[in-house]
């Protein structure tokens, strides 16, 4: 090993597809010290190397794929991979993250990240086999689905030991919300990263690595990692066993009970058919293994195994199989008003095979269903687009992927751009923030989630914070201690939510940058200092927890404490903000769709809404804490100096984009 910091593989792969050139670069140490890896480093690369005004599908767009310093090093949930680019769906910062064992494999092959530019003259795929890296002809794969592509490439190479990231035909057709799909089922789903990859004529990236990774302080590292694993295994939520038993589909019935399960394109937030599309139903009818964890599959080194594998044995959709996850079930299920789990499962795997983002695809269909019912859009292709029509939904998935007929072509633009094209008041029926549609949690009930949607750097999204804190009946004392208000533990309260969002946002930036998973610090609360606080409350003598700061320090040899950790998180949030500032995002864009200012008609969240006035008040508090200009939302010079981001400041200053 030649690289000074442990944990990292130490090298970057730079691919120029236009010239067919491959360069192996040594990683820049100062960049890693400031941004760690993954999402942080990717955002910095985009800031430095991407021309802000280009069309996202132009060959000059940059596609970054990154791991972090602790990826593939035995820590809990260290199988994530980060993808960043300029999004064709939103025309701003695009970023998505997937979990599998593809990222670790890349590091075992000797590379931390890949930076892809240009456009290949004809379809190719990138083959990485330790030090042998080459671009190979992909003519035989172009037009094939993700499954066929992945399996063919595995057969051609090292079988199951070859890990494949692929795009599907929908991406080739230019559907704006396509994913990059890792190892068949794991999607870097959102913001259209797959569409960008297709525009570069890059069909797939295969990796196999036989190398090794070292850490700076092996003895201490193992101790910290063991403490981290025990932290997760002893987390009260983990011990409850619900999430492990059902995976993320647990959220169908949970969300329905708490009243935040989006139904019929967010008209309501409880679904009468929730039981029939629930995680329990999936486990009982379609799971393939009779074990304590039916169909449960994990990413690299993850005790949580949230993916659920299943198969439909008979009937109309016999043969459908795959891994399933909550967001997709809600997108094709409750959001479309469909209570037939087989149709939902089928639409879900179809969408995967075509290489489309399930969430945006389901949302587009749900939006069209509402527009047709409201008489804003004509069902021109006579599909019977109405809430609850499963056949029409499945047909729409095919049509969108192939841009077939008028509605298919419209749907391929994603809900927001389609609504702009439809005109009239169609946009009022979308749920988009900054051009991307909302995920499966009603922000009128879950206020922390709602506020997150407004401020997220990639548009309407919960994963920038994942404030499950407000949903899990955390003891109010912890909310008071951490975020200054017991309201932070109350789903429908606004109190303490801004501080809660801030903490989660900084930590989430860290998680994505080091290559760990959101579920460890938000969902389960295994990250310092929550287990310590819970232990104190319950008079526990011994407490285990994940300490990202110690973990990164022992792995890399950098010296990072908890305070510095949060500062790095803050810096990553700011580099993304700087990037979006260049793309024209201001305070006016940190908003919630009109739809959410109307009250919920029934269920536990009856009468709840997210008023604009309230949002503005929260934005004031948030901007003040972040030291962003209250009026414009631009970052203040003093903040960039404080965060040691002089180069970013100089660049923004030239364009008058700081205050």
């Amino acid at each position: 090993m030649t690289f000074d910091y442990g944990g990292y593989a130490g090298k970057t792969l730079r691919i120029d597809l236009t010239k067919g050139k491959i360069i192996k670069e040594t990683q820049s140490k100062p960049k890693l010290e400031k941004y760690l890896g993954g999402r942080g480093v990717d955002a910095k690369i985009l800031f430095d190397e991407l021309k802000p005004n280009i069309n996202p599908l132009h060959s000059d767009n940059v596609l970054c794929i990154s791991t972090g310093p602790i990826t593939g090093l035995l820590g809990p949930t260290t199988g994530r991979i980060n993808v960043a680019t300029k999004s064709p769906l939103t025309d701003i910062y695009g970023n998505s993250n997937a979990g599998s064992d593809w990222g670790p494999e890349l590091k075992y092959a000797g590379y931390d990240n890949i930076i892809i530019k240009g456009r290949a003259p004809k379809p190719v795929y990138l083959c990485i086999d330790d030090e042998h890296v080459e671009l190979k002809d992909a003519a035989h794969l172009w037009g094939e689905g993700v499954f066929e592509t992945t399996l063919t490439l595995q057969e051609e190479q090292r079988g199951y030991d070859t890990k494949v990231a692929a795009i599907g035909p929908a991406a080739e057709n230019g559907v704006l919300f396509c994913s990059i799909i890792f190892n068949l089922w794991d999607a870097a789903g959102r913001t259209g990263t797959g569409t960008v990859m297709a525009s570069k004529n890059l069909k797939a990236i295969t990796v196999s690595g036989s190398g090794e990774l070292r850490v700076a302080d092996p003895e201490r590292y193992l101790e910290i990692v063991r403490d981290g694993w025990l932290g997760v295994l002893n987390d009260p939520g983990f011990l409850m066993g619900e999430h492990q038993a059902l995976g993320t589909p647990i959220c169908v019935n949970w969300g329905n009970a708490q009243g935040w399960l989006p139904t019929r394109n967010f008209r309501e937030s409880t679904f009468e058919g929730a039981d029939s599309i629930s995680g329990e139903e999936f486990r009982d009818k379609y799971s393939t293994r009779s074990s304590p964890i039916p169909g449960g599959r994990a990413c690299m080194s993850c005790p949580n195994r949230c993916k659920r594998f299943g198969r439909i044995e008979s009937g109309k959709y016999a043969g459908t199989r795959g891994s399933i996850e909550f967001e997709g079930i809600a997108a094709f299920g409750s959001k479309c008003g469909v209570s037939d789990l087989e149709a939902v499962f089928h639409a879900y795997t179809l969408s995967n095979d075509y290489g489309m983002d399930c969430v945006s695809c389901g949302n587009a269909i749900a939006t069209f269903m509402e527009l047709v019912e409201e008489g804003v859009l004509e069902d021109i292709d006579k599909l019977g687009l109405r809430f609850g029509n499963a056949d029409a939904m499945v047909e729409m998935v095919h049509r969108i992927a192939n841009k077939q007929d008028k509605l298919g072509a419209l749907g391929a633009l994603g809900a927001y751009k389609a609504a702009l094209k439809i005109g009239k008041n169609a946009v009022d029926y979308t749920t988009s923030v900054k051009g991307i549609d909302t995920i499966a949690c009603d922000p009128r009930v879950a206020k922390g989630f709602g506020f997150t949607y407004a401020i997220s750097s990639r548009g309407s999204d919960h994963l920038r914070t994942h404030v499950v804190f407000e949903m899990i009946r955390m003891p109010p004392e912890i909310g008071k201690e951490l975020f200054g208000s017991e309201g932070a533990c109350d789903l429908m309260s606004y109190d303490g939510k801004v501080r809660m969002v801030l903490w989660h946002e900084n930590l989430a930036a860290i998680t994505d940058s080091i290559g760990s998973c959101r579920f460890m610090h938000a969902s389960y609360y295994a990250q310092y200092p929550v287990p310590e606080l819970l232990g104190k409350l319950r008079n526990k003598k011994e407490v285990n927890s994940i300490k990202y700061h110690d973990w990164i320090s022992a792995a890399t040899g950098m010296k990072i404490d908890y305070k510095k950790l949060l500062e790095i998180g803050n810096r990553i949030v700011n580099i993304e903000r700087a990037l979006n500032t260049r793309f024209g995002m201001r305070r006016k864009d940190d908003r919630l769709p009109k739809k959410f200012s109307k009250p919920i008609p029934k269920g536990p969240g009856k009468g709840q809404r997210f008023p604009k006035k309230q949002l503005e008040k929260m934005l004031d508090e948030y901007y003040t804490s972040r030291e962003w200009d209250l009026k414009t939302g631009l970052i203040k010079k003093s903040e960039l100096i404080k965060l040691d981001m002089k180069d970013v400041l100089d660049d923004l200053d030239k364009k008058k984009l700081v205050r």
């Binding site: 070292r214 850490v215 009970a257 293994r289 009779s290 599959r297 994990a298 080194s301 299943g310």
Partner: protein, 170 residues
């Protein structure tokens, strides 16, 4: 008499065992240097742990021309003496489980030695995908009883659920 038991139906494919093994034995994180291997068959949602079964009538011992492989009478493990190994790969070819792994970089075979009776992989397996039994004679009985219990109680279906108010779902 110890033995590793591989329960493919409980393995989630997290590969913590591979990393724990390579770190314990080699001080690095490298699945290619692990004595145990998880084969992930993604298209069927299966994860299959593959490791040495330490067979009583071990074909690898028979096949080895230099007696580099032998049995440790204390742990029952078949162990490899790298000093005697000539790299002919006969053991790798003849092993019915594919449990012996050859690393091209180091030109050396990796072979499970049961970590002197305290296997590291088992310590990191949280689902029971790999288990270690000292008294292996007990195992078939226990396993068969487990299966019957699952069948009788229809276990996967009776897992309680808080969100739906608990109880069996049928």
């Amino acid at each position: 008499m110890g033995k590793l038991i591989f329960n493919y139906e409980k393995c989630t494919g997290c590969r913590a065992c591979e990393l724990a093994c390579s770190f314990h034995k080699e001080g690095v994180f490298a699945p290619s240097k692990s004595r145990i291997k998880i084969v992930r068959i993604d298209e069927e949602g299966l994860d299959i742990p593959i490791g040495c079964e330490h067979c009583d009538n071990a074909p690898c011992i028979t096949a080895c021309p230099t007696r580099a492989l032998s049995r440790n009478s204390e742990t029952n493990a078949i162990v490899l003496n790298p000093d005697f190994c000539i790299g002919c790969k006969q053991c790798m070819v003849i092993c019915p489980f594919g449990a012996i792994h050859y690393n091209e970089n180091r030109e050396i075979f990796y072979k499970c030695d049961l970590c002197d009776g305290s296997p590291e992989c088992v310590k990191w397996c949280v689902t029971g995908g790999i288990e270690y039994y000292e008294g292996i004679e007990e195992f078939p009985r226990r396993k068969s009883a487990d299966r019957i219990q699952h069948f009788l109680l229809n276990l996967p279906k009776s897992t309680r659920s808080i969100a739906t108010g608990g109880g069996n779902k049928e």
